[in-house]
């Protein structure tokens, strides 16, 4: 991790804290432990989806199949489990594996055949959507099993279970990115696939693994989200497409790959969640809300950008390493 990357991440957190203070001015209740907890829980869902997305984006790709991987896992889980806890023992691992498999297919298409990631994952998303409808006949599903509901909304000693899960995943992601060969390879591929290839980086394996991870986390988030709403419903993955990408970008990663970190994505997920939580409290019209949303995003990420410091140096930007903009 270099200094620049650290700073982008630090500033993402700064943006998040500013936003949090701002919300507490609007409504003091936002700083109550209950609400902070529920904000964190909601952020966890985005954060978990965005985990895989972070890996894919750092590697220079993008995963647009997230919505229906998520939704498929949710629908299939409730369908197969039929509100029972016991079958989860095989259903959950199976669906996680299935999600990973879809991700792997994405990765193979991108890495072996050179299909542009946007098209590959978009097509897989559509096919999954259709596939689930064909398989289930569009039948609505049963209630989420109690065990899953416990994972999503339950608490251990007052601490939400899903947050514990998120923290564990975040730690793993951080280790993967910062401490393993896989992480190094991923940054290298995202920076320059050619140089990575010339350096003997296993580009195929690394790329496929990143997409696989994304499929895995999307499926996991789908099941957890089912626990949160107590049931699966069609369309539950849709909001997670742009939020997962936006969380990564707000967290300081370049959408073209090679930079960023999951630690930043966490801040991104929190920023987005705090913001969506804040908006209803403003009592504005839908239109005004969208405007506020846009402005706040812009201001928050500007904070996180190098803009402020660059105001003080008047050298042209190509004299220094390239910032996140392209």
């Amino acid at each position: 991790m270099n200094i620049r990357r650290h700073r982008a991440i630090l500033l993402a957190y700064l943006g998040m804290i500013v936003l949090l203070l701002l919300t507490s001015v609007v409504a003091p209740g936002f700083l109550s432990p209950t609400h902070l907890r529920s904000t964190a829980v909601l952020a966890a869902f985005i954060g978990i989806v965005a985990l895989g997305q972070t890996f894919v984006i750092i590697g220079g790709g993008i995963d647009l199949s997230v919505p229906w991987v998520l939704n498929s896992a949710a629908v299939l889980m409730t369908l197969l489990a039929g509100s029972q806890d016991a079958p989860l023992l095989w259903i959950v691992p199976m669906l996680l594996a299935a999600g990973a498999l879809v991700g792997m297919i994405n990765g193979l298409g991108v890495a072996i055949f050179g299909v542009p990631p946007i098209i590959m994952t978009l097509a897989v998303n559509v096919i999954l959507q259709g596939g689930i409808l064909v398989y289930t006949g569009g039948a609505p599903t049963s209630t989420a099993p109690a065990a899953i509901q416990f994972l999503a909304v339950g608490r251990i000693a007052g601490f939400p279970v899903v947050l514990i899960l998120w923290i564990v995943l975040a730690a793993l992601a951080t280790i993967l990115l910062s401490k393993t060969a896989f992480g190094r390879y991923l940054y290298a591929i995202g920076t320059s696939a050619t140089v990575a290839e010339f350096s003997g980086v296993p580009t195929l394996r690394t790329t496929v693994l990143a997409y696989t991870l994304s499929g895995f986390t999307a499926a996991l988030a789908g099941m957890l989200l089912t626990g949160y709403t107590a049931q699966a419903y069609l369309g539950m993955g849709d909001p997670y497409l742009f939020t997962s990408i936006a969380a990564v970008a707000i967290g300081g990663a370049s959408i073209l790959g090679g930079s960023g970190h999951y630690i930043g994505t966490i801040a991104g997920a929190l920023v987005l969640t705090i913001l969506t939580g804040l908006l209803p409290a403003l009592n504005l019209s839908s239109g005004a809300l969208l405007i506020v949303y846009g402005v706040v995003i812009l201001v928050t990420v500007s904070l996180a950008s190098e803009a402020l410091s660059s105001l003080f140096t008047f050298l042209p930007r190509f004299g220094r390493p390239r910032g996140p903009s392209a």
């Binding site: 647009l64 298409g109 055949f113 050179g114 299909v115 542009p116 946007i118 098209i119 590959m120 978009l122 097509a123 897989v124 998303n125 559509v126 096919i127 959507q129 259709g130 596939g131 409808l133 064909v134 006949g137 569009g138 742009f242 990408i245 936006a246 970008a249 707000i250 370049s254 959408i255 073209l256 019209s285 839908s286 239109g287 005004a288 809300l289 969208l290 405007i291 506020v292 949303y293 846009g294 402005v295 995003i297 812009l298 990420v301 500007s302 950008s305 190098e306 803009a307 660059s310 042209p316 930007r317 190509f318 390239r322 910032g323 996140p324 903009s325 392209a326």
Partner: protein
């Protein structure tokens, strides 16, 4: 000196050294190299031809003017949106805000045109100007704040959508009847959309050969070199995103001729497809390579896939699967073709 013979050696001490003593590629491999240079365009062409062939085998009258008129009309909004997107992608950026701009454009048209043709015309130009201005603002923010285009245009997308929603909270408004006749009018048997397509291509063949056109491609290809050669960083962003906004506004205006109404949410439908059309047409998200012809083909591929799924008469749940699979197979085939072409040559 004839253009057809660019390899004429130059006399002088230098002439002896470089290439001409080196092994010359055979005529066939030179031909192959020329093909490869255009592979990212040829392959989508072949893909479109294959889809059209399949389509024609399932429906009568595919190779008629009527079909051309219909499909062009169906593809035109996407095409206009994708034209702006193409310019931005060539520069190595991306523009999500066209979603907001298209919504805003339709909403303004549906609420401000009234019935007076002069007023409608003035507002039409006004909307295009707003599009260009908003785009230019995007370009400025991207340069000055040094932010990723993805984030800046994500934010302005939201802001523009919000503005549209304040002006017209839900679908509605109306347009002069003359305006909605635009799409169905034809001239010399060709509908206005076909003429528009021709105009667009003429524009492109002009634009890509202007200094600006070259500078945009160059900046996408290698930013540092372009700037070292005198391209202005802020200038290039203002013009590319400005053009993108302008074309989004045009897309909005065309869309209203089809829908006869405004909609504060309709624009988002064109964001991903505009990128997809360009990418299918061979444009790299990393900038520098490709052009509008590819995008036109990409947009038609997307439209024809829709028609194809219709005439295949697959049962309703299978429709998205089939369209996804057609898209995937087509793109996969072209990726493999391009990859193997590249391998056999480099």
């Amino acid at each position: 000196m004839s253009v057809a013979d660019p390899i004429t050696p130059v006399k002088g001490p230098g002439a002896a050294m470089a290439r001409d003593a080196a092994p010359r590629p055979s005529r066939a491999s030179a031909w192959k190299a020329a093909l490869l240079d255009r592979a990212s365009l040829i392959i989508p062409c072949v893909m479109l031809a294959a889809l059209l062939g399949l389509y024609a085998s399932l429906r009568d009258g595919v190779f008629t003017i009527d079909e051309l008129n219909l499909d062009t009309a169906a593809a035109m909004t996407l095409l206009l949106a994708a034209t702006g997107q193409t310019i931005v992608l060539l520069r190595g950026g991306i523009d999500l805000s066209i979603g907001g701009m298209i919504s805003l454009g339709t909403v303004l048209a549906a609420t401000r045109f009234g019935t007076d043709p002069a007023q409608a015309t003035a507002w039409a130009f006004g909307i295009v100007a707003i599009g260009a201005l908003v785009g230019a603002l995007n370009g400025m923010l991207i340069t000055v704040l040094r932010l990723q285009p993805f984030l800046v245009t994500l934010a302005t997308w939201s802001i523009l959508s919000g503005t549209a929603m304040i002006i017209l909270p839900t679908d509605g408004g109306s347009l002069p009847t003359g305006w909605t006749m635009f799409g169905v009018t034809s001239w010399l048997g060709l509908s206005t959309s076909v003429w528009l397509l021709a105009l667009l291509l003429v524009f492109w063949f002009w634009f890509k050969r202007t200094r600006l056109g070259i500078a945009i491609r160059a900046t996408g290809s290698n930013e540092r070199s372009a700037f070292l050669s005198g391209v202005s960083p802020i200038g290039i962003n203002i013009t590319t995103y400005g053009l993108s906004g302008l074309f989004a506004a045009l897309a909005a205006l065309y869309l209203t001729t089809q829908t006869g109404a405004g909609s504060p949410t309709i624009g988002k439908d064109y964001i991903l497809p505009s990128v997809a059309a360009a990418v299918i047409g061979g444009i790299s998200l990393f900038g520098g390579r490709g052009g509008l012809v590819g995008t036109v083909i990409g947009a038609f591929i997307l439209t024809i896939i829709g028609n194809l799924v219709f005439v295949l008469e697959v049962s309703s749940y299978w429709q998205p699967i089939v369209s996804g699979i057609i898209l995937l197979v087509a793109v996969l085939a072209s990726s493999i073709a391009e990859k193997s072409a590249r391998r056999s040559l480099s």
